[in-house]
Every structure is written in structure tokens, then in C-alpha cells.
């Protein structure tokens, strides 16, 4: 897109790139905001069904699908309250810090092969690091609210998130090790082919580590049973006790954004990313590039695939939330330090040994042909880590090669 703007319309290059960045940002923002709306509605419906209720039924028709929009309008119209003793600037800043952290992490998240805001060669690292920034918003909110309950919530969040980053990091390193790259696009690409190529099924250790990752992910985005920072039965509403209206909704959007993000990350790292369980595209001969229009269809399918997997992850989080009681803070820390971290470390060592002694899997040559083609391509390119940053919508030279590799 940027090349098109520069070459055909003749825009100066800085303007072209800014325009592209703005478009990408707009699209991602819509994914988050739209996603949050859908997920909030879904959560209400799922919670209702779990609890033998109906949930929203009227707003926007039969299934109440406009309920979150109505809620949003209500939040917009609410009085903007700030406690007397609050630190005004920090109080106002906090929701945006949280939201921005969640939003920024989406930049590096690939939705399909080249549908990615910014393809980074350290994508995994970037996502985990930026997501970790979300805790600053929560701490700021807790500190600036001048409420003791908020402070408790913030301190809990700080302790919890910082601890869970450790096992989370260890889990994330495993796919990196298997793929030999920190680039999310490469990691997902390596899992192309049949279901068995997904890293969750790579070996027994990765299977275990996926569940450890998921547990840590739930904890790091503060969902039940680890939602101690906003434990309503103890801390009223935790760090956002004093927030209302639009500011509160930013926290909410950040939470749902993060939920989607960690689930999408789980999909990319362990569940084959945008590759479906059955390689329909290559079975139909599309991804071999016989038709020029095929790649777009394949990409669209990939997007749907990834979104589906991430959504499934989010729905499971909701299911857990409406089923389990909440852990206590010391139990949450015990779960992290005594169980998650050692298990993650052991599995990490296990995967290492597996890679050393059984690199081809238990049955050598069992990997599917499509994966072999991909791998051959990745090997043939020489550089596993792409050096250019590719904004959304641009079909870069590298991905043209994918199409062209078998042409």
C-alpha cells in the first residue's frame, strides 16, 4: 500500500507510511473495540446460559446483540466522577495506559500470513513485554484513586502479574525454541499442514506446557479464578472501584483486549496460528499458487481460523469464570511459584531433550507434505527472521515468494 501511494500517487514517503500506519492502527483498534463489544455480549449470554437465565433479550432484536452498544452509550452519558483525594493526572492517565498496552501488543499479532500490523523479528518478545505494561495502568489507577480498596487491588495485581510473567515467559520460549525464531509469523508458518503439526502435539512436553501457558495467561489477564485485583466479594471492585463512565470502560476494553490477545497468542504459538486442523487450502491446491486470487482467499480463511481459535480460548476463560470460586492471594502465588514455574521449567528442559534426541518426532517423516514444502521454503530463503517490517495490507516481496514458490 505504501509503495502504491509513493509510486502511483506520488506522495512523499513519510506521508505514505504515516497513512499506512494510520490505516493499520484504525483497523486494529476496530478489531479490539469490535471484539470487546462482541465478547462482552457473549460473556453476558454465556453467563446467563450457565446460570439458567436468558441474559439480554431485547436490545437490538431477539438475542440482545446490541446490548454492549447500549451499555457503551450509557457509559458515555455517565457523570465523570473523580474522588476528592485523587491524584487527578494519574487518575485520568491510568485507563489509557492500560488500554494502550493492550492495544500496542496487537500490533505484532499476525492474523494471517501477511495480515499483521508490523511484522517484528522479535514478535513474541514484543507482545509479552508490551502486555506486561498493562499492569502499570492498574497500579496507577489503584494509587491515584485515593481509596484503600483500590490500593489493595493494585498491589495484588502488581504481585500477581509480575510473578506470572515468569512461567508465562518460559512457556512462550518453548515454541520459539521449536521454531528457531521469535517471529510470530514464522512460528505459525512452521505449524502449517495437518493438525499433528501444531506445536501442542509436537511432543508430550509441549502438550503440558500449553495448559501451563493457558493457566498463566488467565492469571496474567486477571480473569477468574485469578481475578484478585478486582475481587468483588473482598475489594468491592478492586483497582477500578472509583472509576465510572468512559474511563471505566477503557479498563474493561483493555481486559477484553488482553483476553483475546493471550488467546490469540496461544493459538499462534501452540495451535497452529492461522493454519486450520486440515490443510484445506493446500489440499484444494490453492496455496500452491495456481490462481492469483487464491492467496487472498487463503488469507481470509487464515484470519477466520485464528479468530476462531482465539475466540474459543476466550470462551473457555468465560466458562471458567462462571464456574470456579476465586483463589486467595497466597494460593495464587503458590500456584505460580510452586506449580507453574517448576512445571514450565521441567517441560522446557524436556522439550530441549526431545529436540536433541527425537527432532523428527517419534515416527520420522510423519510430518505432512505441506509443512515440508513450507519448511523447504523457509530454509531456502536463508533468513528465517525477516529483516523488513511489513505493515498491514502490504503484500511484501517475501510473501509473494510464498505464492510463487511452487509456480
Amino acid at each position: 500500500m505504501a509503495e502504491f501511494l509513493i509510486e502511483t500517487i506520488g506522495l512523499p514517503s513519510w506521508l505514505a507510511w504515516t497513512a499506512v500506519a494510520a490505516v493499520a492502527a484504525f483497523l486494529i483498534l476496530n478489531v479490539i473495540a469490535g471484539g470487546a463489544l462482541v465478547f462482552i455480549w457473549a460473556e453476558r449470554k454465556i453467563a446467563a446460559r450457565i446460570q439458567d437465565r436468558l441474559g439480554p433479550t431485547r436490545t437490538g432484536g431477539r438475542f440482545g446483540w446490541l446490548q454492549s452498544l447500549a451499555d457503551g452509550i450509557k457509559l458515555l452519558a455517565k457523570e465523570d466522577l473523580m474522588p476528592d483525594g485523587a491524584d487527578g493526572m494519574l487518575f485520568r492517565l491510568a485507563p489509557y495506559v492500560s488500554f494502550c498496552a493492550s492495544f500496542c501488543a496487537f500490533i505484532a499479532l499476525p492474523f494471517a500470513f501477511d495480515v499483521v500490523g508490523l511484522r517484528l523479528n522479535v514478535g513474541v518478545f514484543f507482545v509479552v513485554a508490551v502486555l506486561g505494561l498493562e499492569v502499570f495502568g492498574v497500579i496507577l489507577a489503584g494509587y491515584a484513586s485515593a481509596s484503600k480498596w483500590s490500593l489493595f487491588g493494585a498491589m495484588r495485581e502488581a504481585a500477581q502479574v509480575v510473578s506470572y510473567e515468569v512461567p508465562l515467559g518460559m512457556c512462550v520460549v518453548v515454541p520459539v525454541m521449536l521454531a528457531g525464531s521469535m517471529d510470530l509469523v514464522t512460528i505459525a508458518e512452521k505449524q502449517a499442514g495437518w493438525l499433528t503439526n501444531w506445536y501442542i502435539f509436537h511432543d508430550p512436553f509441549t502438550f503440558v506446557i500449553f495448559w501451563v501457558y493457558y493457566t498463566c495467561a488467565v492469571a496474567s489477564v486477571n480473569r477468574a479464578p485469578f481475578d484478585l485485583a478486582e475481587a468483588e466479594s473482598e475489594l468491592v471492585a478492586g483497582f477500578h472501584t472509583e472509576y465510572s463512565g468512559l474511563r471505566w470502560s477503557f479498563f474493561f476494553m483493555a481486559e477484553y483486549g488482553s483476553m483475546f490477545l493471550v488467546s490469540a497468542l496461544a493459538a499462534v504459538l501452540f495451535l497452529g496460528g492461522w493454519n486450520g486442523p486440515v490443510p484445506i487450502a493446500s489440499l484444494l491446491g490453492w496455496s500452491d499458487g495456481s490462481s492469483l486470487s487464491a492467496p487472498y482467499a487463503v488469507r481470509l480463511l487464515g484470519c477466520a481460523n485464528l479468530m476462531g481459535k482465539a475466540t474459543a480460548g476466550v470462551l473457555v476463560m468465560m466458562w471458567i469464570r462462571w464456574t470456579l470460586p476465586r483463589l486467595r492471594i497466597d494460593q495464587v502465588m503458590t500456584t505460580c511459584l510452586k506449580y507453574c514455574t517448576p512445571i514450565a521449567a521441567l517441560m522446557f528442559a524436556g522439550v530441549m531433550l526431545w529436540q536433541l534426541f527425537l527432532p523428527g518426532g517419534l515416527v520420522p517423516g510423519s510430518r505432512h507434505q505441506a509443512a515440508a514444502v513450507r519448511e523447504a521454503w523457509l530454509e531456502g530463503r536463508g533468513d528465517r527472521v525477516p529483516s523488513t517490517n511489513v505493515p498491514l495490507g502490504v503484500v511484501p516481496a517475501t510473501s509473494r515468494q510464498v505464492v510463487g514458490v511452487s509456480q
Binding site: W149, A231, S233, L327, I329
Partner: protein, 402 residues
């Protein structure tokens, strides 16, 4: 110089000591069961001291009782433990009947057992659901309310009200059951019985639930007796007292011929009349888990009693009997009677000088004594344990403040 620095108060204070914080939990807190205010002195997450402040729901019920006739005061007893209003009605009615030396008809006796035990189920369901809420799980609360709703429907059919019934009254009951009620009640029981297993899966045996309740807020039998704890709180500590069996004869006569086993741990095991989940290994007698479990057992026990009462009631022929007149004159003297309500032993005391209006009315609330032990249980626990402990006592503020 160094000596001087060591003695400097500011430097000593700067050492590892952390600041204590005084936190107000309530009266507008989501998990204080109404308008209870708990003042917590916390050191980080640890509660060093907890003090309950009550009185936000005080409505001078006892004083009002001294200006109304005995039967007129019945609706005020409804508003004490509003989750078990039938049991409150029963307690007061029996106390007045004790003073009057009045005996209700056989049919009324069985109907009273039926209604009171049904209300015990409803009350324990709320206790169970709200306890789940205290521990951060929302769904069991709604499951409990779903079943309670059916009990309320039955009550509504019987007396027209859903919360404050005034159904059981001095000298009997205000009305007989409508036709078909017993069948609907049996239908409900059949439907309800398998659901209890779901509750055990969701809460009683749930790993996180056990982690949150087992070994928390351990109340020794001695302390329970010292503080005057009663009901499931006392039985959760392994003290074998249930007024339906051990109470005064006017009350136990009501349960004459009814077979039930008191829900209490004896010789290391609970009654085995039904299939119950095993006690988790972490649970200590007298902790939150046991208090909760006793309530769950009493739900089943009450179900059995309701079934028996249905049998006996349907065998009774003849009229129910009219309740006493609204302004029945009370003989001079006094009477005190404690009954086994869902929350504990509820006592009513009245002194009469021979008029229709009692000279003195007094209520002994079980929740009040049960709450009094909470500061002892909460000392040194975590903030998250405070709702767990207070919830396990299953208090109702309407009864504490009266």
C-alpha cells in the same frame, strides 16, 4: 554517635515495620450480608484485628412488641430473619402458646413442621448461594435461588406472601393449604433431590472451594459454647445440640414421632443416612467447610422431615383449628422459649401482666451470638478470608439488629 542513631526513633521506625491500615468493610460492601460494617486493621493483606459494628438495621422491634398484642407482633417477627420468616413466626407463636399453655391441633402441628422445614431448606439455600458469592463464584447463587424460587411459589400459594409470611401464628396457622399443594410440594422435592449433588460438585467438593474453606476460621467447640454460638455454627464444631431433639418439651413435642438424625460429626463421621461426599483431608472440625457442610446436610435432613410431615399431615382428618383472637388476653407471668431456626437458636421472651399486650418482649438472636465470634476467627487471617468466615456464619442483619 552510632549509639545516638540507634536510639533515634525515626531510624528504628524506618526498619522493616510496615504501616497498619484501618479499612472499613461495609456497611455498603458487597459481601457483608446486608448492612454490617466491619472495621479491619490490616497489615498488608493480613487482618490483625476485626471489629463488627452493628445497628444499621435497628427498627425497635422489641419495643414495638410491647405496644401490640401477641398476634399483632407476628409480622414483625417476619422481618427479623427474613430468610426464614416461617421459623420466626413459629418461635414467637410457641413462646406465646407456652405462656397460654395452649396446644394446637394435631393437623396444625404437622403443617407447622412441614412449613418450618421447607423454610429451613430455603434459608440454607440462600446461605449456600451467598457463600459461593463470598468466595467469588456467582453461578451457585443463582442455582440456589432457582430452587428457592419454587419454595417461595409454594409459600405464596399457601399464604399469599413470598417473603414475610405471617403464616404460622399464635394458636395455629392463618389458613389451611390449598388443594393440590401437597402434590406440588412432593413434586418439588423429587425435582430438588438430584440437584443437591450438583451443589456438592460445584462447591462442597470443588478443589478451590475446599482450599478456600478447609482449615479457615477454625472454631473450637469450647469457644463456640463460650460465645453462645448455636445452630449450624455450633454443630459445625462438633457439638451435638439440636433443639428439635434437645429443646423444651413444648417444642420437641412438635417433632414427636419424626425420625431425623442431627447433622453433626460424631466419632469422626457425619450421619450416613444418605450419600454424602467425603470430608476432605484438609478440613478441620469447626472450620468454614464444616459449617457449610452441616448446612448442606440439614437441607437433606429437612427434605426428609418435609416428606414425613406430608405423610402425617395428609393422614390427619378434621379441621386445622382457628388461631387465637387478635387481642387474646395473656395470663400474668412470663415465658421464654428457644427454637431451632436455620441460623441457630432463636429465643423469644415475653412478660405479661394480664393484658393482651405483653409488658416486655425480648428476642434472643442467634446471628448476634454467631457474629460475636467472628473477630476471634478473623484474627491473623487474610482479607480474602474475612468474607469466607463471615459468610460461613450465615448471619442475617435483620435478626441481629431487630
Amino acid at each position: 554517635m552510632s549509639q545516638l542513631l540507634d536510639d533515634d526513633q525515626r531510624i528504628i521506625e524506618f526498619d522493616v515495620r510496615t504501616d497498619e491500615m484501618l479499612v472499613n468493610m461495609g456497611p455498603q460492601h458487597p459481601s457483608t450480608h446486608g448492612v454490617l460494617r466491619l472495621v479491619l486493621r490490616t497489615d498488608g493483606e493480613i487482618v490483625s484485628e476485626m471489629e463488627p459494628h452493628i445497628g444499621y438495621l435497628h427498627r425497635c422491634a422489641e419495643k414495638i412488641g410491647e405496644n401490640l398484642t401477641a398476634r399483632q407482633w407476628i409480622p414483625y417477627t417476619d422481618r427479623m430473619d427474613y430468610l426464614a420468616a416461617m421459623n420466626m413466626n413459629l418461635g414467637w407463636s410457641l413462646a406465646v402458646e407456652k405462656l397460654l399453655r395452649y396446644e394446637v391441633s394435631e393437623k396444625a402441628r404437622h403443617l407447622r413442621v412441614l412449613i418450618a422445614e421447607l423454610n429451613r431448606i430455603a434459608s440454607h439455600l440462600v446461605g449456600m448461594g451467598a457463600y459461593g458469592l463470598d468466595l467469588g463464584t456467582f453461578s451457585p447463587f443463582l442455582y440456589a435461588f432457582r430452587e428457592r424460587e419454587k419454595i417461595l411459589d409454594l409459600f405464596e400459594e399457601a399464604c399469599g406472601a413470598r417473603l414475610t409470611y405471617s403464616y404460622i401464628t399464635v394458636g395455629g396457622l392463618t389458613a389451611d393449604l390449598p388443594p393440590g399443594w401437597l402434590e406440588r410440594c412432593e413434586q418439588f422435592l423429587d425435582q430438588f433431590e438430584p440437584v443437591i449433588r450438583e451443589y456438592h460438585t460445584l462447591l462442597t467438593t470443588n478443589a478451590i472451594f475446599v482450599k478456600r474453606t478447609a482449615g479457615i476460621g477454625v472454631l473450637s467447640p469450647e469457644m463456640a459454647i463460650d460465645y453462645g454460638c448455636t445452630g449450624p455454627v455450633l454443630r459445625g464444631s462438633g457439638v451435638d445440640i439440636d433443639l428439635r431433639r434437645d429443646g423444651e418439651s413444648i417444642y420437641t413435642a412438635m417433632y414427636d414421632g419424626y425420625a431425623f438424625e442431627v447433622a453433626v460429626m460424631k466419632d469422626g463421621h457425619y450421619p450416613r443416612d444418605h450419600e454424602y461426599p467425603a470430608v476432605p483431608t484438609d478440613a478441620v472440625l469447626g472450620d468454614c467447610w464444616h459449617r457449610f457442610f452441616v448446612r448442606m446436610l440439614e437441607v437433606v435432613q429437612s427434605m426428609d422431615l418435609v416428606r414425613q410431615a406430608i405423610d402425617r399431615y395428609s393422614q390427619c382428618k378434621g379441621p386445622l383449628g382457628e388461631p387465637l383472637k387478635l387481642a387474646e388476653k395473656l395470663p400474668a407471668g412470663d415465658a421464654y422459649l428457644e427454637t431451632e431456626c436455620p441460623k441457630g437458636q432463636m429465643g423469644f421472651y415475653l412478660v405479661s401482666e394480664g393484658a393482651a399486650i405483653p409488658w416486655r418482649v425480648r428476642a434472643r438472636s442467634s446471628s448476634f451470638s454467631n457474629l460475636a465470634v467472628a473477630p476471634e476467627l478473623c484474627r491473623g487471617c487474610l482479607i480474602a478470608d474475612v468474607p469466607a468466615v463471615v459468610g460461613s456464619l450465615d448471619i442475617v442483619m435483620g435478626e441481629i439488629d431487630r
